[in-house]
């Protein structure tokens, strides 16, 4: 699988993501600088975690208006898989590629800890290697992960199975609506989540539960 990681000023988990993708797919991913206007020919585009533009103004807001974003929107239209993790998720929301917004954590503090994620929909390109209902461990590290959207959108997301991951067993770290941890776009090829599966891929990380997410995409594009 060919993949690309988009790097914005202030991205800081891009090296983690590049490493994870290389480890799991066996192919070195492209690193794409935000000023580019075209993407390389890839099967997966990842917007990594970090504090693009310092998270100033609103998380993801400035990055979402960067040069590379139209190319990402076009790729999404073509059905290329797009994955946004943490700040990447925030950027996708700000860019309108996913609905809703990620607001300040309900506790107002940055939270770095392991949470439990429940697979709500195991039929997506990003979760097919998990079982439906499966609960897995994954770290979160964010200050703005509190997912919010209007009631109509929420009903649609839930109704269409687009809430793929939820925080399980009272581990919601940020107060997000319906314990939402990760959502899909309508077509199912754009996925955003707050937790960091790229930091859960080796025994060193305590468990390897995050691998299946990348392996899902690998299988989907095969």
């Amino acid at each position: 699988m060919k993949s690309a990681v988009v790097v914005f000023p202030g991205s800081n988990r891009e090296r983690d993501m590049l490493y994870a993708l290389e480890l799991i797919t066996g192919v070195k991913p492209h690193a794409v600088w935000h000023t580019e206007r075209d993407l390389p020919d890839v099967d997966l585009v990842v917007l990594p975690g970090g504090f693009s533009y310092g998270d100033y103004l609103r998380t993801g807001a400035i990055a979402a208006r960067g040069n590379i974003m139209p190319a990402i929107a076009k790729a999404a239209d073509r059905g290329v898989r797009i994955l946004g993790v943490c700040n990447g998720f925030q950027i996708l929301c700000e860019a309108g590629l996913l609905p809703g917004v990620l607001m300040r954590n309900a506790g107002l503090k940055f939270v770095c800890r392991h949470v439990k994620l429940q697979v709500v929909n195991a039929e997506t390109d990003f979760t097919r290697k998990y079982e439906r209902g499966q609960v897995w461990n994954c770290p979160v590290a964010h200050g703005d992960g509190n997912y919010f959207t209007d009631t109509d959108t929420l009903a649609r997301l839930e109704g269409e199975g687009r809430v793929a991951l939820r925080y399980a067993e009272g581990t919601n770290p940020n107060g997000s609506l319906n314990d939402i941890a990760g959502i899909l776009n309508e077509r199912g090829n754009v996925f955003g989540l707050m937790p960091h599966p790229e930091n859960m891929i080796e025994p060193l990380n305590g468990a390897t539960d995050g691998r299946a997410l990348f392996e899902s995409v690998l299988e989907a594009v095969a």
């Binding site: 103004l57 609103r58 807001a61 400035i62 208006r65 700000e94 809703g100 917004v101 607001m103 300040r104 954590n105 309900a106 107002l108 509190n146 919010f148 209007d150 107060g175």
Partner: protein
């Protein structure tokens, strides 16, 4: 020209910071606080001297970047200076 922009959350949008401030004020012993909402206050200095043009530019800035119109409203005041 100086523009003063207030960006506020729309009604019905959850405001975790406002809620926290409300709680904190209560904890500090302030009573009778019915609600607190937190927004942003942005000041932009423009070279533009023409009021209409400046207003149009600021409005565009708000729509394109300064406010997320899905959840936020904005109000602009212009000031010669």
């Amino acid at each position: 020209m100086k523009a003063r922009i207030k960006v506020t959350l729309k009604n019905g949008v959850l405001d975790p910071q406002g809620k926290a401030i409300e709680g904190a004020l209560g904890a500090l012993g302030f009573s009778g606080i019915e609600s607190v909402r937190q927004g942003k206050f942005i000041e932009v200095e423009l070279a533009e001297k023409d009021r209409t043009k400046a207003a149009a530019a600021i409005d565009e800035m708000c729509r394109k970047l300064l406010a997320n119109t899905v959840i936020e409203n904005y109000a602009v005041e212009l000031d010669e200076k």
